[in-house]
Structure formats: structure tokens, C-alpha cells
């Protein structure tokens, strides 16, 4: 009846996961109880869960990322403290638990923190920057989000019911084959990524179409803000790379469930084919993450320097060059596999070449700041911190791209230090910069500046204290994923690294405090004008938060930095553009399709993991029924009457006019 699922699946004998999951369960129950008692459920259902508004979906993606960041970070703290304690001792985490922790940490941080964070910011910002009212496929957008949430849910269920993979964040065979990993851990990994992978693909298709087909009049490609370009490159990579992940994981599933021989030791299976396939997705994936972050830095640096982005066209070229080169370097993840000197040399050279466009970008940001009036607000601090940190990470990357050096450093802590250097210093800092930068746009009030700066300083010093020792440990020969060790020379460095993780914890504490403080003092921090940073692109032309339709009338774009031009004209002439002729606006209706799809996907995923076949069938029928019901709907749009549009836009114009006349007063 319940397949492989028995009471034995719940780890009653292991205190750490039981306590952790009890705390999480209490938290969830508490939140649900509060929502029910306060009667917020209908509001949440109507305004958020069923929303197809790209701004709401973007916020939900970001929220998912922030919550999962806490979960992934608690794994990180456990690993660092285990390695600090496990010198000539078993530490406090038994090997089978430690292995699950580093696997879950990597999986969560890449797929359920970094990915939803950048996708959330792209979702929120892109239509606003492009001067569009919505994305190309609003309901699909919601489906994509909820499928991502399903994946995250399944990974977290594995904490309580069963186990997670012990294979590392990429389940290399033959270890991940059923012979060596007979438990459900790898299945949890595979199904959660298959499901969330579909969500990511859907989101990629949606955003590519949005950027290429739905832009305001006059918004030609070379007038798009830099963030739109990097988002385009990133989403093109999603469309081209995620199907490879889906195919590869499907093959491993077929091996595990039906006895196929893709990657097995016997029957002619080819283990190295898995490495090639997974990295043919995996390397583009790192650019999927970093390119939107590059876009955020471009927006932030240009805004806070009060200058147009230096070398806009070279930035576009560099972005698209990275987009293409991303597919030509995957083999550098396994130089040691023995492909031969020629192959290794080619991929080594390609990997060094990809550093060139990245260098172009760094110089462009520096030259944007040069001669500008730089304001050191929190988003700008994250950006400058990134520039310094990322250059170090880039250089260790070029070092690893040299095959002979890689033979010495492969799978050592040097590698771990390198990719944390670029992912934390690149993706995460960028996501935090974007989060602080666009927060007032999303909610209508700013985040507290002082707490944000404190968070930044703890994060960046914590980062250096935690990860620079890992470079040293790599040179000292310490391999990654060690549960315990007995080399005296390593111990001081692991202790320092644990201290660094503690500093980052304080940084996260400041971020939580910043959010709580800012919500409580939102009246003082309110953004009245919709343009709190003196911005340059179209999202700052809308009020904060923007109305459902974003733009009362589509802006007519006449150059780069579209909003800056409009603002300058208004400042020179001391008047706003003429009152437009408001038209009724057609907007997509809310739909529970995404949520219901995710419900059935969760059922199906769980049933497949535990071999509960009747539930799988039920889930499939449910999914098809949802599809038909959705296809059968008669009205998927509603009309906002012209008077309503005029009323909402009138308020926005009045505020802007007040600011304009206020700015005109002599100081």
C-alpha cells in the first residue's frame, strides 16, 4: 500500500535531524496557526498563492530563496564546526549524516537559494525595465514558481522521512547507482530536481519570450538596461542547458528504477558519460547564476555613480560572449579523468579565454565609477565588495584552469574555496545588492541603511576569514568532504574557518534584524516618489509599489537610460509630459493552476520516491485534469477601466510633480 515507506523511515534514533525537524515543524505550525487565526488565508490565497502578477511571483521566489538560505547555512555551520572538532576525533556528526549534510548544502544553495533568488529578481524587474505590463506567459510563470517550491519541499521532507543523498551535490555514478546507494536519498535528490528543473525551464522560456517580444515602443535591443541583457543571456542558457540536466537525471533514474545500463559498471554502461553530460549542464549553470548578478552590479554601479554605464556595447558583447563560451569549457571539471593532453589543453585554454570578457566587465564597472559622484549606499557596498572578491576568485579559477595545476588541486579544499569565492562573492553579493536596491520598489519602503551596512561588513569579513583558510588547506593537501582527519597542520586553519562562518552568522543576523526593523518602521522609511535612488531605468518611473498594470500608458523610449532622459527633460522644462489619453487595460486573471500543479507534482514526486504506484497514477490523472480544466477556462483576463487607470496614475504624477517643484526651490 505505501511502497517502501514504513515507520523505520523516520530517524527516531538520531537526535539532530529529529530536533531540527521538530523546530521546523513547530515553526510551520506556528505560521499556519497565525495565518488561520488572523484570517489571512483568503487574502494570501487571492493576492499571492493564485497571483499571476510577475511582481508577486518575483517576491515569492525571493522569499523562498531567503528561507532556504537559512536552511542551507545551518548545514554550512554544521560542516565547519564538524571539521573544526574532528581533528583526531570523530566529531559530533557520524559519517552517514555528515555526507547527507554536504550533499543537501550544495543542492539547496545552488538550486533553491541561488536559482530562485536570481529568477525572482529577474521576474520582478524585467517587465518594469522593459516597459511592459507583464511577462509573456503569466500563468506558466506561476506554474514555474510552484514547481520550484515543490522541489524545495521534497528536499526538506527528506530531513524527516527517509534520508537525503550522500553522494555530493552532483550524484556521480557508480556511487549513486542502486547497487551502492540503495536508499531513497538519491531518489529524493533526483525527483526534486526533475520537478524543479521543469519549473526553471518554464521560467526560462517565459523570460526569453518576454525580453525578445514584449518591450515598450522605442525599446530597441541596444537601449535595454544591462540587467535585461544579462537576463536574456542567462535565460537563453536555461533553455539550452536545463534539458540536458533533465535528460541526464532521467537516465540515472532509469538505471535506478528499471535496471537500465547508462552509467552502471556492468552491461556496457559508461560512468564518464555522466560526468560529461552533467557538466554540459553544470558549467552553463554557473553562468546562469552569475550573469544576472553582473546585470545587477551594472545597474547599481551606474545608479550610485550618477553616470551611464561605461562601455555599454562592450558589456553587451562580453555578456553574449560569455553566453556562448559557457558551453565550451565543461571538461575542466574533470581534467583528471584522463581525456589526454590535447583535450585537456583545449579546454584549459577555453577556460582561460572566458576570463577575458569577465575582465572587460570589471574594467567597465571601475570606469563607470571613475569621475562619478559615488554614493556608498548598501547596494553599492555589495558591488564594490564583489569587485574585489570576485577578482580573487577569478584568478584562482584561471589557476585551476591550468591542467597540470588542476591535477594537484582537484577535489581539494582549494576548489571548494574557489567556487565559494565566486558564488558567494559573485552571485550572493549580487543578489543581496539587488534585494536592497529593488526592495523599495517592491514594498514601498526602504531597508534600514545602517543595519544593511553592518550586515555587509560582517558578511565580507566572515567570507574572507572562512574561505581564505580553505585555499591554504587545499595547498596543504586537504581533500573536500572529510568527516575527520589527523593532520596537525590542518587544525588551526579549520578553526579559523569555523570562526569565519560565525561572522557570517552575525551578518545574517543583521539582515534578519534589518528586515524586521524596516517593516516595523516602514512609515519613516517610506519611498514616496517611486524613485528613491535617483535611478536611470524605467522601473523607477512607476510608483512604489507599482500598480498591477505597471505602466498606465506604455512609455515611449528615446534612448539608453530611458527614465533618466524623461527625468532630465522634466527637470529642464519644470513640467511633466502631457497628460496621456488613458485607455482601459487588459490584465490576466489570477489562477490556482500553478498551486494545484505543484500539489500533484509533490504527491507524484513523493510517491515515486517511495514506490507508491497507485499514488503516482493518481497524481498523473490529477495533473492531466488540471491541464484540461485550465484549458477549458473562458475568461482569463479582466479589464481595468480607463477612469481607474487615470486615478492611479494621477496620484503618481502628483507626487512626481511635487518632487519636481520641490527640487526647483533654491537651496
Amino acid at each position: 500500500m505505501l511502497g517502501k515507506l514504513t515507520w523505520g523511515a523516520i530517524p527516531f534514533d538520531q537526535p539532530i535531524p529529529m530536533v531540527a525537524s521538530a523546530v521546523v515543524a513547530l515553526g510551520i505550525c506556528g505560521v499556519l496557526a497565525t495565518i488561520t487565526i488572523k484570517g489571512w488565508l483568503p487574502y494570501l490565497w487571492r493576492e499571492w498563492i493564485t497571483s499571476v502578477d510577475h511582481k508577486r511571483i518575483g517576491v515569492m521566489y525571493t522569499l523562498l530563496a531567503l528561507v532556504m538560505l537559512l536552511r542551507g547555512f545551518s548545514d554550512a555551520i554544521m560542516m565547519r564546526s564538524q571539521q573544526a572538532l574532528a581533528y583526531q576525533s570523530p566529531g559530533y556528526l557520524p559519517p552517514e549524516h555528515y555526507d547527507q549534510i554536504f550533499s543537501a548544502h550544495g543542492t539547496l544553495m545552488i538550486f533553491f537559494v541561488a536559482m530562485p533568488f536570481v529568477i525572482g529578481l529577474m521576474n520582478f524587474v524585467l517587465p518594469l525595465q522593459l516597459g511592459a505590463r507583464d511577462v509573456a506567459f503569466p500563468t506558466l510563470n506561476s506554474v514555474g514558481f510552484w514547481l520550484t517550491a515543490t522541489g524545495a519541499l521534497l528536499v526538506n521532507i527528506s530531513l524527516v522521512v527517509g534520508e537525503f543523498a550522500r553522494t555530493g551535490w552532483l550524484p556521480y555514478p557508480p556511487l549513486s547507482e542502486i547497487t551502492y546507494s540503495p536508499g531513497v536519498g538519491v531518489d529524493y535528490y533526483l525527483w526534486s530536481l526533475e520537478i524543479s528543473g521543469v519549473g526553471t525551464l518554464v521560467s526560462g522560456v517565459n523570460l526569453v519570450t518576454t525580453i525578445l517580444k514584449i518591450r515598450a515602443p522605442g525599446m530597441s535591443y541596444l537601449r535595454m538596461p544591462m540587467f535585461c541583457w544579462t537576463a536574456l543571456a542567462s535565460n537563453l542558457l536555461i533553455v539550452a542547458a536545463f534539458p540536458i540536466l533533465t535528460a541526464t537525471l532521467s537516465m540515472l533514474l532509469l538505471d535506478r528504477y528499471l535496471g537500465f545500463h547508462f552509467f552502471t559498471d556492468d552491461g556496457g554502461g559508461n560512468v564518464m558519460m555522466f560526468m560529461n553530460l552533467i557538466w554540459a549542464w553544470g558549467h552553463p549553470e554557473v553562468y546562469i547564476l552569475i550573469l544576472p548578478a553582473f546585470g545587477i552590479y551594472s545597474e547599481v554601479v551606474s545608479t550610485f555613480s550618477g553616470k551611464p554605464l561605461f562601455g555599454y556595447r562592450s558589456m553587451v558583447l562580453a555578456t553574449m560572449a560569455i553566453c556562448i563560451l559557457a558551453f565550451t569549457v565543461w571538461l575542466h571539471h574533470f581534467f583528471t579523468m584522463g581525456a589526454g593532453a590535447d583535450v585537456n589543453a583545449i579546454f584549459g585554454i577555453m577556460s582561460m579565454i572566458i576570463a577575458v570578457p569577465t575582465g572587460v566587465k570589471i574594467f567597465n564597472w571601475l570606469f563607470t565609477m571613475y569621475g562619478g559622484r559615488v554614493r556608498f549606499a548598501t547596494p553599492m557596498l555589495w558591488s564594490i565588495g564583489f569587485m574585489v572578491t570576485f577578482v580573487i576568485g577569478g584568478m584562482t579559477g584561471v589557476l585551476l584552469a591550468v591542467p597540470p595545476a588542476d591535477f594537484l588541486l582537484h577535489n581539494s579544499l582549494f576548489l571548494v574555496a574557489h567556487f565559494h569565492n565566486v558564488i558567494i562573492g559573485g552571485v550572493l553579493f549580487g543578489a543581496f545588492a539587488g534585494y536592497t536596491y529593488w526592495f523599495p520598489k517592491a514594498f514601498g519602503f526602504r531597508l534600514h541603511e545602517g543595519l544593511g551596512q553592518a550586515a555587509f561588513w560582517f558578511w565580507i569579513t566572515g567570507f574572507y576569514v572562512a574561505f581564505m583558510p580553505l585555499y591554504v588547506l587545499g595547498f596543504l593537501g586537504m581533500t573536500r568532504r572529510m568527516q575527520h582527519y589527523d593532520i596537525p597542520a590542518w587544525h588551526p586553519w579549520t578553526l579559523i574557518a569555523a570562526g569565519g562562518a560565525g561572522l557570517i552568522l552575525i551578518g545574517i543576523g543583521f539582515q534578519v534584524a534589518q528586515l524586521v526593523y524596516s517593516i516595523r518602521h516602514r512609515a519613516e522609511l517610506r519611498d514616496e516618489t517611486g524613485d528613491p535612488w535617483d535611478g536611470r531605468s524605467l522601473e523607477w518611473a512607476t510608483p512604489s509599489p507599482p500598480p498591477a498594470f505597471n505602466f498606465a500608458f506604455l512609455p515611449n523610449v528615446q534612448g539608453e537610460d530611458a527614465y533618466w532622459g524623461i527625468k532630465q527633460r522634466a527637470r529642464e522644462q519644470l513640467r511633466m509630459s502631457e497628460l496621456p489619453d488613458y485607455q482601459p487595460i487588459e490584465m490576466p486573471r489570477n489562477s490556482p493552476t500553478g498551486f494545484i500543479c505543484a500539489f500533484f507534482a509533490t504527491l507524484m514526486g513523493f510517491a515515486l520516491i517511495w514506490h507508491i504506484w497507485w499514488l503516482v497514477a493518481l497524481g498523473m490523472v490529477g495533473a492531466f485534469a488540471t491541464f484540461v480544466v485550465f484549458a477549458w477556462r473562458d475568461e482569463d483576463e479582466y479589464i481595468i477601466p480607463a477612469e481607474e487607470v487615470a486615478r492611479i496614475d494621477g496620484a503618481n504624477r502628483a507626487l512626481r510633480l511635487a518632487e519636481l517643484t520641490h527640487a526647483e526651490q533654491p537651496a
Binding site: A132, A136, F137, L201, G204, V205, N206, V208, T209, L212, K213, I214, R215, A216, P217, G218, M219, S220, Y221, V239, A240, A241, F242, P243, I244, T246, A247, T248, S250, M251, L254, D255, L258, G259, F260, H261, F262, T264, D266, G267, G268, G269, N270, M273, L277, A280, L554, N556, V557, F624, F627, V628, A631, W632, D634, D636
Partner: protein
Amino acid sequence: MSATVAREFGDPNRVGGSRKLPPTWVVSGRGEGGPAPKRIVTGYGFWIFLLSDIVMFSAFFATYAVLVRATAGGPDGKQLFDLRNVAVETGCLLASSFACGMASIAVHQRNLPRFLLAMAVTALFGAAFLGLEINEFAGLVARGAGPTRSAFLSAFFTLVGCHGLHVTAGLLWLLTMMAQFVAKGFRADIIRRFACFSLFWHALDIIWVALFTVVYLLGAGT
């Protein structure tokens, strides 16, 4: 606004063209022309999805190419493939695509009976293709040449089976489409959806051409 767009851009279909055009003329969805109409957006998005689907197939193709000689002492393509059966399958699929094209014309003409007839023919040929494929698979498994026999057969069953799954999903979609046209008539959103279905159905042909060549023709010949 439309006038400036037309002045700056001219007719995109005319070589080197920047001839003056009537002020009402706007190239929407490209360059500076503002958002594209829904028909274009839907079709464009679906094309992007199809490309991603083709990338997924290319991963299975690459895997097949790597594993084609990994027969683990079992049978290879030359011993297993029956080109006559495959030729009939191909015929069914092409006929089905032709009928799907007829259905597109019927939608253009807003002719419901002709549309339903064409779709029924599309479905019948599609189902015949599936039947032949299932028959082939069952025969192979009965001869002890199932997907668990060798890496080559794993790759073969997955690649061809993935195409078969797509045809199955397409058939479900096809029947839903027929029901929708009967229930709702020729509504703009349903016509857009049909355009996507027809793209999907033809894309499966493209995949099949590659399959037919790479798997069956090359396999039976060596």
C-alpha cells in the same frame, strides 16, 4: 508614435528598404515597435520550448552515439532492426503530419467538420505509429533484447521511447483540442493553442527523421 517607428524602420521584408510607409504601419514585437500581438508571443514562446525539447533529444542522441557499440555481448542493431516495419512507421507519421496540415487549413477556413475529420485522421495515423512502435518494443523484449540487456539497448529504448512518449502526449493534446473546438468554436485563444499543437506535431517529425537516420538506417547498415 507609429509614424516615427515606420519612418525609422521601414519595411523589414524589403531588402535595404526604408521607403516611406503609411503612418498606421507599425512593426510590433521587434526593434522599436512595441509589444508583439498575442499570436506572435504564443508562437514564439512555443518555438523556444520546442528548441529546448530538441536539446533534450540531442542529449539522448549523444548518449546513444556513445553507447551504440556497448552491446555487452548482446545483439546489435543489425540483428534487431526491421527496416520494413520502420518504413511503415515513418509513413504513418508523415501521413499524420500531412493530415495535421489539412487541419490547419480547415481552421483557417473556420470549417469545423473538415477540421474534425482531418484531426481524426491525424490521430489515427499517430495511434497506428504508436501501435507499431509498441509492437516492435514488445518483440524485442520477448527476444531477450530488452533495455536491461545492454547499454546499447538502454540508450535505444530511451531515445526511441522518449519520442514515443512525446507522440502519446501529443495524442492526448490532440483529443483535448478536438473537444475544445467542438465546445468553444474558433476562438482566438484556442486557435493560438492549435498553432502550438501543430508546431509540436511537426517537430516530432523532425526528431523522427533524425531517429530514422541515426538509429535505424545507420544501425541496420553496419
